[in-house]
């Protein structure tokens, strides 16, 4: 069946691999991009010193960004909103959905803390007006307020909102918005390149038989079983 496919032996393939010209600076840049985007400010700083690689944005902005992210992760949404506005007021002004999600998270935190009255007041004053403007927001709001119906939230059909993963989701949303506001991609390039490797191998599979890398974590070449 595979007779029409070009067969490339391991020797030939390794020769090709060795002939690739890869610049060390480019690999360093890729690693720096990962550290910066994922918010490892200490590591990025050390890496700049140890490798001479310049980060693509001011490292101080990473600290600010991570402080916002951490505040959301810890449930201090009010604090996070303040920090975002200190960083750049346009982020929330131009991003009503993000702002709504942050306010929604704040409501969730109030409910979590059992501050029912405060939660209701906040929902009516801050969130309801937004719900009137936007049908999707209104539905989200109704869903969130439904948390109050159940004495024991673990029985509630929308209990996922109280899960830690919802905080993380909101945190990563605000993280992405800050990166975008800094003209930076919201995801690091490395995972995309790894996906591209799988894709490129799949594409080449249609035309050739050659040694693969199946395990991304080790980079081991596997000769296709004869």
């Amino acid at each position: 069946m595979a007779t029409s496919k070009k067969v490339i032996t391991r020797d030939e393939w390794e020769k090709k691999l060795n002939a690739v010209k890869l610049r060390k600076e480019d690999m360093n840049t890729l690693v720096m991009n990962f550290l910066v985007t994922e918010g490892f400010v200490e590591a990025a700083d050390k890496f700049q010193r140890e490798s001479g690689t310049k980060p693509e944005i001011d490292l101080a902005t990473i600290t600010d960004r991570m402080a916002v992210k951490k505040a959301v992760q810890n449930g201090n949404v009010e604090d996070a909103i303040e920090k975002v506005n200190d960083l750049n007021p346009e982020i929330l002004d131009t991003n009503p959905e993000l702002f709504f999600h942050l306010q929604q998270q704040r409501l969730i935190e109030l409910i979590r803390q059992g501050k029912t009255e405060e939660a209701l007041e906040f929902a009516q004053e801050e969130l309801a007006p937004r719900g009137e403007e936007n049908q999707a927001f209104l539905q989200e709001l109704e869903k969130t307020v439904a948390l109050l119906v159940f004495e024991d939230a673990s029985n509630c059909p929308v209990k996922d909102l109280l899960d830690i993963s919802h905080r993380l989701k909101t945190a990563s949303e605000v993280n992405a918005a800050i990166l975008t506001s800094q003209s930076h991609e919201k995801d690091p390039k490395l995972p995309s390149l790894l996906k591209m490797l799988i894709w490129a191998q799949n594409q080449l599979d249609e035309k050739a038989v050659y040694p693969h890398i199946n395990d991304l974590s080790t980079g081991q070449l596997k000769t296709p079983s004869e």
Binding site: K24, D45, K189, L190, L194
Partner: protein, 462 residues
């Protein structure tokens, strides 16, 4: 680069060092130093594009190519199928790119409106409509059909006539031709023709007149947008692919470990342990950490230009590496020592050092040109701005540090650790893309990490 190195005097009788005979794995670092490496990087740039119609090759009696060589007119009355007025572009469509595209404007559809746009090979019979003959393709105005190497066409798109702008393009990634009319995509068809293709126009009834735009004027069709959506389509397919979560963390970690970036590694390890939620990194470290600190120290010394200390430490910690004083690592370190003398303006000391430590490499094929380039630093009052100024760049120190690191790693008993995991993956990715491209007749864009990293910056500028 000095002249002597660019004409690379190498012949088989040259003495070759023991390092070469043993296939020293560090040998590759010599190639990285040579500046010629970068010229290849940009080999897909500088490809020539068509600029005008080929007036000489066009079918003389039936067609007039205007003085600006950008329009054709059919003046006679057509009589049969072998008196078509055809004109090819002066150059074939470039192919080391994602797409090629050009447009024509039908100024006058003449008596019968037998205008055609398409692509033909160099030896095309210039009296036939593009698409009628094998290895050609054409979108014809009178019937809107596509012709693919035979006299009968297939239904394809609308007809076109006076006042219409029609475009022809090649998508090299999907290996398809595509055509447009008045800024809208008409359709696409698989491209089965290999090799160079010339943008081609044809007129075939009295007073038919067509002008061609090879990109000097803004295209009516948004070809940039077309390219972007083609790229996005591919990117979306790629993004859908599943990879194990957090795999990037493990690769970054092993990269830092591989190159001995110890402080970064420590900071990274600390941070990944304290994030919410903590990041679980699969431990796949092929390299043990026991000599990480030594490698880090040596890297730091080289990066600071303290080559004497680096050599002394190597002698203490890894005598086997510096045992052969004609090894690549020794050569690179001695060169760097010389370069450091030049950097601080101590030329006389540099010369003295060079005579003492580098003279023994003169005459060895693989070192000769680098020594000459190094010594060329002495010629210039401002070496940094000279053609060999790259020796004084930060990346040169990094490279020597990498070579020392690689020498230590390859000296270990277990398997060859010449490349980090990350590098092996990037090499595999590059070769897969290159192979796939070579099976498409080397058409389309090449994958280059360098370009991928630049992409976002470019997007911002646009």
């Amino acid at each position: 680069m000095t002249e002597s190195s660019s004409n690379g005097r190498r012949n088989e009788n040259d003495e070759t060092s023991a390092a070469v005979n043993r296939r020293d794995p560090i040998l590759q670092f010599l190639d990285k130093i040579r500046p010629s490496g970068d010229a290849m990087e940009d080999d897909n740039e500088g490809e020539e594009s068509p600029t005008e119609l080929n007036a000489i090759n066009s079918a003389g009696g039936f067609v007039i190519v205007s003085p600006d060589k950008l329009s054709v007119k059919y003046t006679n009355a057509n009589l049969h199928g072998y008196d078509v007025g055809v004109a090819q572009a002066n150059k074939p469509a470039p192919f080391k790119c994602l797409t090629y595209y050009f447009e024509i404007l039908v100024k006058d559809a003449g008596a019968k409106g037998k205008v055609a746009i398409g692509f033909t090979k160099e030896g095309f019979i210039m009296r036939r409509q593009p698409g009628w003959e094998v290895n050609s393709c054409g979108y014809h105005g009178d019937d809107g059909n596509i012709y693919l190497g035979k006299g009968t066409g297939e239904a394809f798109g609308p007809t076109y006539t006076t006042g219409d702008t029609v475009g022809g393009g090649i998508n090299y990634a999907s290996q398809e031709f595509f055509f447009t009319k008045n800024g809208a995509l008409v359709g696409k068809i698989p491209k089965d023709i290999k090799g160079h293709l010339f943008p081609t126009v044809a007129v075939h009834s009295q007073n038919e007149e067509v002008s061609v735009n090879f990109g000097k004027q803004k295209f009516v069709f948004d070809v940039k947008g077309y390219e972007t959506s083609a790229r996005n389509k591919q990117q979306m397919a790629i993004e859908k692919i599943f990879i194990p979560p957090n795999i990037g963390y493990g690769l970054v970690k092993s990269y830092l470990l591989h190159y001995g970036y110890e402080e970064t590694l420590n900071a990274f390890n600390l941070a990944t342990k304290t994030t919410v939620p903590p990041i679980l990194i699969a431990q796949e470290n092929a390299i043990d950490e026991d000599d990480l600190h030594q490698r880090k120290t040596l890297r730091k010394l080289v990066r600071n230009g303290d080559i004497d200390a680096a050599l002394a430490n190597l002698q203490d910690w890894y005598p086997q590496i510096v045992q052969d004083d004609k090894s690549v690592v020794c050569f690179l370190l001695h060169c760097q020592r010389f370069i450091e003398f030049v950097r601080v303006g101590k030329l006389a000391e540099g010369v003295k050092y060079g005579r003492l430590e580098l003279a023994k490499f003169v005459g060895l094929t693989e070192f000769q040109d680098i020594i000459e380039d190094c010594f060329a630093l002495l010629v210039y009052p401002k070496p940094v701005e000279s053609p060999v100024g790259y020796f004084l760049e930060d990346s040169q120190r990094e490279l020597v540090a990498d070579a020392v690191n690689a020498a230590i790693l390859s000296n270990k008993k277990d398997a060859c650790h010449l490349h980090s995991h990350l590098e092996m993956l990037l090499r595999q990715l590059t070769v897969c893309c290159l192979e796939r491209r070579s099976m498409n007749g080397d058409q389309g864009e090449t994958f280059r990490l360098h370009h991928v990293l630049k992409q976002y910056k470019k997007m911002k500028l646009d």
